[in-house]
């Protein structure tokens, strides 16, 4: 059904590095293929060739022959592809065209010029098949990331394509949403659709995939069946740069640290939005030197809690740091959040200036020394926006260190990172945590939690905080259902 013969591609700004190198690939109808590999290995590029974004949107050099259903992709428009191939992308926020959910479900069908009755019928089938009843007739902006992703899948489902292409669809999703995504994919597989999915997170696909294609530096390095992949030792997987395929096989044995003095004390936190109580915490003590993971289902209030701590949202609460009451404005000065969207926090024209901005000590020697420690010295004259995602994140973290903030908060720092990226982040957080009074990580990445966290705060109706000793890890396993 899909055939790549000797395909190579270079992005226009690719500095001459080929993203995909002499690729030969054959995907049969009805197969469920997972493309995996380290960041930058070319798996996303392959998905873009299949849905024709290459060469129609991403201009660049494409050589070789790609046949889909016997037809060369270079012929015909990209819009003709939409009826054969549907795409779901990584970022839930930026892929929708409409502002309301039903309009979005109909979008693809309207583009295909289907008559009104047909569109309505398909919308109904989609809502039933993907259980979207609760999401109908709502503004997309109100939905959570997982719900947006569901609508994105629905929008594609309604056009009933033969091929589904998904590019890291689970990146911004939590456990529950990933489970729902898995169910959707299972439904599609049963219907005999051809599914190509590029992913870092492999565990939710282990039962669905027919083949795992491992890419390395633009080449198709090797192929695995699910059985073969599952039989690999965790060490072998990490050497390949891959994330865990079986969550229960992860190393849950962590040395819990001994509790230090109390760094922050949160009392009587009450936050409501439109008559709904989002956060209700009577008392919460966080000790010094602990690295606290904040977990919870979607809508549990993780980001809200972080914003309250940083003093951005007004809420009834009394927060004491080092036993002194601290007002919201002061908390903003003391804290720093590494946001999910790193682009929002890069302001300067080179990395050195970036960490000089807001630095307590703007001496050249100190800053250069800091860059060296963070393995960023070679980038000191580069523009932050020209770096890779992981490097940008590193710059943002470095800026927080130079500003000598007391409270460091990380908001979903590993979405889209491969195993190496996640490992590096763990090391970085462990290293820098000693400089900070408090380290909070909002995440639903269990590997990250096991890699560097010492405590967990689970936000739910009755929030609980526990350290990752034997009992703690049992609670953690429970939450992640492994």
């Amino acid at each position: 059904m899909i055939k790549f013969t000797d395909v190579s591609y270079t992005y226009p700004t690719g500095n001459g590095i080929t993203s995909v190198n002499n690729l030969n690939l054959h995907i049969k109808k009805g197969e469920f293929i997972v493309l995996c590999g380290k960041s930058g290995c070319g798996k996303t590029t392959v998905t873009r060739i299949i849905n024709k974004l290459i060469p129609f949107f991403y201009e660049g050099e494409l050589t070789g022959e790609v046949l889909i259903n016997g037809q060369d992709i270079k012929e015909e428009n990209i819009s003709d592809m939409a009826s054969i191939c549907g795409s779901v992308f990584q970022n839930p926020k930026s892929q929708f065209f409409n502002m309301e959910t039903d309009g979005e479900l109909a979008f693809g069908c309207e583009n295909l010029q289907l008559p009104k009755e047909e569109i309505l019928a398909r919308m109904e089938r989609t809502v039933k098949a993907l259980s979207l009843e609760k999401l109908m007739n709502r503004s997309i902006f109100e939905l959570s990331g997982g719900e947006k992703q569901q609508i994105a899948c629905g929008s594609v489902y309604a056009t009933n394509p033969e091929i589904y292409v998904l590019d890291e669809p689970s990146s911004n999703l939590d456990i529950g949403a990933i489970e729902r995504l898995r169910n959707v994919l299972a439904t599609l597989k049963k219907q005999g659709k051809t599914i190509i999915i590029s992913e870092h997170r492999l565990y939710y696909l282990s039962e669905l995939a027919d083949r795992f294609l491992y890419f390395d530096n633009g080449k198709l390095d090797r192929e695995y069946t699910p059985l073969q992949l599952k039989s690999l030792q965790p060490q072998e997987l990490s050497n390949l740069g891959l994330r865990a395929i079986n969550l229960s096989k992860l190393d849950f044995d962590i040395n819990a640290i001994k509790e230090g003095e109390v760094a922050m004390n949160i009392r009587n936190l009450l936050y409501k939005r439109k008559d709904r109580t989002i956060l209700d915490i009577k008392e919460l003590e966080i000790s010094k030197n602990c690295i606290l993971a904040i977990i919870g289902k979607n809508g549990a209030g993780k980001t809200t809690l972080a914003e309250i701590l940083c003093g951005f949202i007004k809420a009834t609460v009394s927060i004491e740091i080092d036993n002194k009451l601290v007002k919201p404005k002061e908390r903003t000065i003391k804290s720093y959040m590494v946001m999910q969207d790193v682009n929002r926090q890069l302001f300067c024209e080179n990395v050195l200036e970036e960490i000089r901005l807001g630095a307590k000590n703007s001496g050249e020697e100190y800053l250069l020394g800091l860059l060296k420690e963070m393995d960023l010295l070679q980038f000191k004259d580069r523009h932050p926006a020209s770096l890779s995602g992981g490097q940008k994140q590193r710059v943002a973290i470095c800026a927080s260190i130079s500003a000598q903030k007391d409270i460091a908060i990380y908001d979903e720092p590993t979405s889209g990172l491969d195993y190496t990226g996640m490992q590096n982040l763990c090391e970085l957080i462990l290293k820098t945590s000693k400089n900070n009074l408090l380290n909070l990580i909002i995440t639903h990445d269990i590997e990250l939690i096991l890699g560097c966290c010492t405590h967990v705060l689970e936000l739910k109706n009755n929030p609980i905080i526990y350290s990752l000793d034997k009992e703690g890890t049992a609670l953690l396993k429970d939450f992640f259902a492994c």
């Binding site: 949107f57 929708f96 009104k116 901005l357």
Partner: protein, 226 residues
């Protein structure tokens, strides 16, 4: 209260009439009549709460302006009265703006525009304009938070003394991150078959019904009264 779906074109006419009417009519009585008309439309279209709040504000402004001018028109009350008069003029326009843009779905707009043979070069940007506004707001919010963390927040002193620097700190991340969203939006739209050369269909019925002609007539009637 059953929701009536008016045709976007009828709504648009009401809106245009509102702008012309409100800017040119100074007597209170016709203004009140028009305001009431738009309020009814809002309630019928499914926005009773915001519609009523705006209407009550509007009526309050009218009443207060009237009271002030009748009883205490002195130089002290002038600025206050100016405020009320502006409220009286502008609120019905805002109400009709809400009537058009917040009760209509993007696909309805696009279909209505297509029916009057507007080129897709107008329709698509128009639709994206509205869809992108909340995105810009979100990015702005994130950036101002990031700025607050770095100590370069939007204070009066920073705008006054270092205007160019502040402009740089805002424009650079704003444009970079918005362009990122734009590129993803384009990719997702193209991959789902959006093509400006192709005529799209619509899942909603977009046709002028009796109720639409009715409200258009009332609106035009107001105009002729003047």
């Amino acid at each position: 209260m059953p929701k009536i779906n008016f045709d976007p074109r009828a709504k648009f006419l009401v809106f245009i009439v509102a702008c012309v009417f409100c800017m040119n009519v100074s007597e209170p009585l016709p203004a009140v009549a028009f305001g009431t008309f738009v309020w009814v439309l809002l309630v019928l279209s499914g926005k009773p709460r915001s519609g009523t709040i705006m209407y009550l504000t509007f009526m309050a402004c009218t009443v207060w302006a009237f009271l002030i001018i009748t009883f205490t028109s002195t130089v002290w009350t002038m600025p206050l009265m100016a405020l009320f008069v502006y409220g009286r003029i502008y609120i019905p326009m805002i109400m009709s703006f809400v009537f058009v843009f917040q009760t209509t779905k993007i696909s309805e707009f696009m279909a209505a525009f297509e029916k009057i043979h507007a080129p897709s070069a107008v329709i698509i940007p128009f639709a994206i304009f509205f869809r992108f506004m909340p995105t810009v707001q979100e990015e702005w919010k994130g950036i101002s938070q990031a700025m607050a963390f770095r100590g370069i927040g939007l204070k009066f002193s920073s705008i006054f003394f270092h205007p160019i620097q502040t402009a740089e700190y805002i424009l650079v991340p704003l444009l970079s991150s918005c362009v990122g969203v734009m590129d993803e939006l384009v990719a997702a739209s193209l991959a789902r078959g959006l093509d400006s050369d192709k005529k799209r269909t619509c899942f909603l019925e977009v046709s002028m019904k009796l109720q639409d002609y009715f409200i258009m007539m009332i609106a035009l009637g107001f105009l002729m009264l003047k």
